[in-house]
């Protein structure tokens, strides 16, 4: 039973989060032995960065101005990311649980215990009773290896990854609309667009580097439309801001298309030659008049018309979106209704014309391509398609019937653990206790597990529940590749080796596979061999890397897939000449009527609750909550609310408020600001325990993508205490001049 064996504070004392403020060896002694050109470990932009390495420790950074995407630019996470290295909380040995916390273990003991638990659980309850959860912050090599490990060594159907909480609605919609799952354009197309429609994407805080691309478009005369319930920093100077009511996105897109059709701002020739099903959409949106759309979405009819006036006749245009429209029980429908706005204009597959979801995780794109999803095999192949199964079975040298079938998605795995159907779990680079909605249920589910194994570099809140923790590797301690949000596969360089007895993740997976009797299929000397294998496995598949090699990636600042041959230059822009990836070469429109979110406001819970990121934190905070300067920038979650709502509730800035939903409650300080809809409150999600926004959120899933509805549920807010009194302002007193400072 994976219950905690000591108090939370005891774990915190031993394993952190501890705040690290200064580089290894201190500020004065940072003469690097080498500068390593690699990439930041946070977010799907994957900025180029040079890490300063001294004595096998990362001691600082230097901008890498030659890398074309960010040209040396970084956000605060990138600037301070090196402080995760040589960190006091770093796991240096495997751990096994005791009656009071953990004790250090040898690798032999930890691996034996893990393998014994796998065999015992699978022997008693069947192969699928043991599940595997991976992550999208890991390299392509590890994503491929996780999938292969689950299918060949664990032989379980139940493998999925934390990208299920992130980009899957966009991925599913991309495949349905275009026949392929990738942003259609390189980001270098953004500055060429004359109209930008940014919906549900807090670009300035979640992908700060892309801000410069947006501003450059504005310099060239682009009009910018931002759709969001909050005036985010990118919305502040937008030409048009549409404050959409949470959960109403598809209605808004339908309303904009209604006006475009009425005014004739659609490309009939393109629609006829390159698409299907526009008639269904035309018939559907006929009823979405500006007046009706205003009533559903809370956006003024005049603004809806204005959006169509900017977008409709534009010469070039890009649609950008992120989790804001994707984290819904109709996430796929939202994305498809927005894609309709692109297809209707025919402005795609040309310079400055197209579409892109901006992936949130470090390898959000590559992590979803190489087979660590429950419905996917390497090369973006479909686990349910006989010819795809046959290809991979042959590639791996196993009979096709032995390949597991489609399993459960990440949240469904947690539900199955709760129901007692899944008894064992191995998790790598995933902190579901903080990141899956309805955290009380996640905790209860973890406590029901007969065995929980975690591979991680820090002891995450989830790993506190583990029976065995295998000390893995930070990004800079391994090498490999990641594929950025624009579909560019880039090379990560090894900066340092793992400290203490920690090992690189892929070796741990291979060791486990060997002990499960699969040594031959998991015999790699270095990540390059895994990459060459995954590239070969992708040959002829929907996501083709077969022309890539480490050397080519290094020479070209990365390569965009598809890249089907060693002499192929890669494909920065998809769909040129209106050629889409469905078998008939056409894109598909989808007509989705608006439907309400799974949980809408009512008399008992009268306000919308929504959640998201702040610029200084990343995902569940396992890394960024340990970096002092980032924590000081935004130390604890605040509940953003509009002054009108605050006045009604009798709340003043920094008063403590209790936010409750049908699933739980948290008490946090209020931040009273005019930059949020008066009917909505926002709390960022990076924190665990009693400050966890995911105690409140709703685990209702999109029927297609199985993404949970992070972005809208119903809540109530009550004041519980006045703001703590501010200490009187102290004027700095002159200190005694210490001899040491002179």
């Amino acid at each position: 039973m994976a219950t905690l064996t000591q108090s939370d504070s005891c774990y915190t004392e031993q394993f952190g989060p501890t705040l690290s403020f200064a580089p290894a060896g201190g500020w004065g002694s940072r003469q690097p032995d080498k500068l390593v050109k690699t990439h930041c470990c946070f977010c799907g932009v994957q900025c180029g960065i040079q890490l300063k390495v001294s004595d096998n420790k990362v001691v600082g950074f230097e901008p890498w101005e030659e890398f074309p995407v960010n040209q040396g630019k970084l956000c605060p996470k990138g600037v301070k990311r090196y402080l995760q290295n040589d960190h006091p909380d770093r796991l240096l040995t495997p751990l096994v649980r005791t009656d009071s916390g953990f004790r250090a273990a040898t690798w032999d003991e930890a691996l034996s215990k893990t393998v014994a638990a796998i065999k015992s659980i699978q022997g008693k309850f069947g192969k699928d009773a043991f599940a595997f959860l991976g992550g999208a912050s890991m390299t392509n090599e590890k994503a491929y290896l996780n999938g292969k490990f689950a299918r060949l060594a664990l032989q379980t159907a139940n493998i999925d990854y934390n990208g299920r909480l992130c980009m899957v609605s966009a991925g599913a919609a991309n495949r349905m609309a275009f026949g392929v799952d990738r942003a259609a354009n390189p980001w270098s197309d953004i500055p060429l667009a004359k109209a930008l429609l940014i919906t549900g994407a807090n670009i300035a805080e979640c992908f700060p580097i892309l801000t410069d691309h947006v501003w450059r478009a504005r310099d060239h005369g682009a009009k910018i439309i931002v759709i969001d319930p909050r005036i985010t920093p990118i919305a502040r100077t937008a030409d048009l801001f549409l404050p959409v009511r949470p959960g109403r996105d598809s209605a808004l897109a339908n309303g904009i298309l209604h006006v475009m059709i009425e005014r004739g701002w659609i490309d009939e020739a393109f629609i006829a030659a390159h698409t299907h099903d526009f008639d269904k959409v035309r018939a559907l949106v006929a009823k979405y008049t500006p007046a009706l759309t205003e009533r559903i979405t809370g956006v003024p009819a005049a603004s809806i018309v204005k959006a169509a006036e900017i977008w409709g006749p534009a010469e070039t245009s890009m649609l950008l979106h992120a989790r804001g429209i994707e984290h819904h029980t109709k996430g796929v429908e939202n994305v498809l209704t927005y894609i309709n706005l692109v297809l209707a204009t025919g402005r795609i597959g040309k310079p400055g014309c197209g579409y892109g979801t901006i992936t949130g995780q470090g390898n959000g794109q590559g992590g979803r391509e190489h087979g660590q999803r429950c419905n996917q095999l390497p090369g973006g192949r479909d686990i349910n398609k006989p010819e795809h199964r046959e290809f991979i079975a042959k590639f791996w040298g196993v009979p096709e019937p032995e390949l597991p079938k489609q399993g459960l998605t990440a949240c469904e795995i947690m539900d199955a653990i709760e129901r007692g159907e899944i008894k064992g779990l191995l998790s790598i680079s995933f902190n579901p206790l903080v990141s899956i909605p309805d955290a009380s249920r996640t905790r209860a589910a973890l406590e029901k597990l007969e065995f929980l194994g975690c591979i991680d570099f820090f002891l995450s809140e989830t790993a506190r529940h583990a029976d065995v923790v295998l000390a893995g590797s930070l990004q800079e301690e391994d090498e490999g590749t990641v594929t950025t949000g624009e579909g560019r596969c880039v090379r990560l360089r090894n900066s340092v080796s793992p400290p203490g007895d920690a090992r690189v993740d892929w070796q741990i997976i291979c060791d486990l596979a060997a002990r499960l009797g699969n040594a031959a299929a998991f015999n790699y000397a270095r990540p390059k061999e895994i990459f060459d294998e995954l590239a070969a496995a992708s040959k002829g598949g929907p996501i083709d890397y077969s022309g890539m090699s480490y050397e080519r990636l290094e020479q070209n600042f990365g390569i965009f897939w598809p890249c089907p041959a060693p002499e192929h230059p890669g494909t920065p822009r998809l769909f040129e000449g209106g050629e889409f990836h469905h078998p008939d070469g056409r894109a598909k429109f989808h007509a989705f009527d608006y439907r309400p979110p799974a949980e809408d406001v009512d008399a008992q819970f009268p306000l919308f609750f929504t959640s998201g990121r702040v610029v200084s934190q990343y995902l569940s905070g396992t890394q960024t909550r340990r970096i002092g300067a980032l924590v000081e920038q935004y130390p604890e979650p605040l509940c953003e609310m509009h002054p009108r709502l605050a006045a009604k509730l009798g709340v003043k800035d920094r008063d403590l408020v209790r936010v409750s939903t049908r699933r739980g409650e948290i008490t946090v300080p209020a931040q009273v600001v005019t930059s949020i809809r008066p009917d909505t409150v926002f709390v960022p999600y990076h924190w665990p325990g009693r400050k966890s926004a995911n105690l409140l959120t709703n685990r209702a899933l999109d029927p297609i993508s199985k993404i949970p509805e992070f972005k809208v549920c119903a809540c109530k807010v009550e004041k519980v205490a006045d703001a703590p009194a501010q200490p009187a302002r102290q004027f700095p007193a002159r200190s005694q001049r210490a001899a040491s400072t002179r």
Partner: protein, 229 residues
């Protein structure tokens, strides 16, 4: 330093991410302490932030008010932090600077401020803050580029009462400045302006079933009326 490169600040581009401040603190000469700062203008009413680096005045007020003659300019016109042996930590410069730049570092009893990354600019590189700034709010490069590609205009002359201050660093100003609304309420439908915040959320909500748009939408008669209006 390459004379052709100049520093440009454009608060309209600033997204408040603090990358500049965090990166400034990374300099080995000031060991984790940033020499620049970035603040919200007024967070309750908006998300506008503004980065503050030293403007490097031609005739620096901070140096003029320094009783110890501790603040020097180099031959390129860069105004340096107070010289350690001279600074008496009186804070005159902190109070006198029209841009609010210098800060007293009480732990060192020394005024420390941005020196435009002398270690980098002196070898032809960009200052750290302007290298990492993800939004281009801090930009270091040729004036030609700014004049050709940016829609804002650079100015480097400021009037503070009777005092005219000319600076080495340029501030970008928007062409045709107009007031921008910063309250979500300004973007809502007109009728919503006087509404109870709770009522705003109601359209489509199950408990207001009969009045809700969603239900009207599924009542063919009501739908017809809506389409005809």
């Amino acid at each position: 330093m390459n004379d052709a490169l100049e520093f440009f600040i454009d608060p309209s581009r600033c997204i408040g991410c603090q990358a500049c401040v965090q990166a400034c603190g990374e300099c080995d000469t000031h060991r984790g302490t940033a020499m620049i700062h970035l603040d919200y203008v007024h967070r309750p009413t908006g998300v506008q932030t503004t980065p503050v680096v030293c403007m490097h005045c031609e005739d620096p007020t901070c140096a003029k008010v320094c009783p110890a003659d501790a603040i020097k300019q180099d031959e390129q016109g860069v105004v340096l932090s107070a010289a350690k042996p001279r600074c008496v930590a009186c804070s005159n410069c902190v109070l006198a600077c029209p841009f609010g730049v210098p800060k007293m570092q009480t732990s060192f009893d020394l005024m420390m401020k941005c020196d435009m990354c002398y270690d980098r600019t002196s070898i032809g590189r960009k200052p750290m803050c302007a290298t990492v700034c993800p939004s281009g709010a801090l930009f270091y490069g040729p004036r030609d580029y700014v004049e050709k590609f940016r829609r804002e205009q650079p100015v480097n002359e400021f009037q503070f009462g009777a005092q005219t201050v000319r600076t080495k660093v340029n501030m970008m100003t928007a062409p045709g400045v107009k007031a921008l609304p910063f309250d979500v309420a300004d973007f809502l439908p007109f009728e919503a302006l006087d509404e109870d915040p709770l009522a705003l959320a109601r359209a489509g909500a199950p408990d207001v079933a009969d009045a809700a748009v969603w239900h009207e939408l599924h009542d063919p008669k009501a739908e017809l009326e809506l389409i005809c209006e």
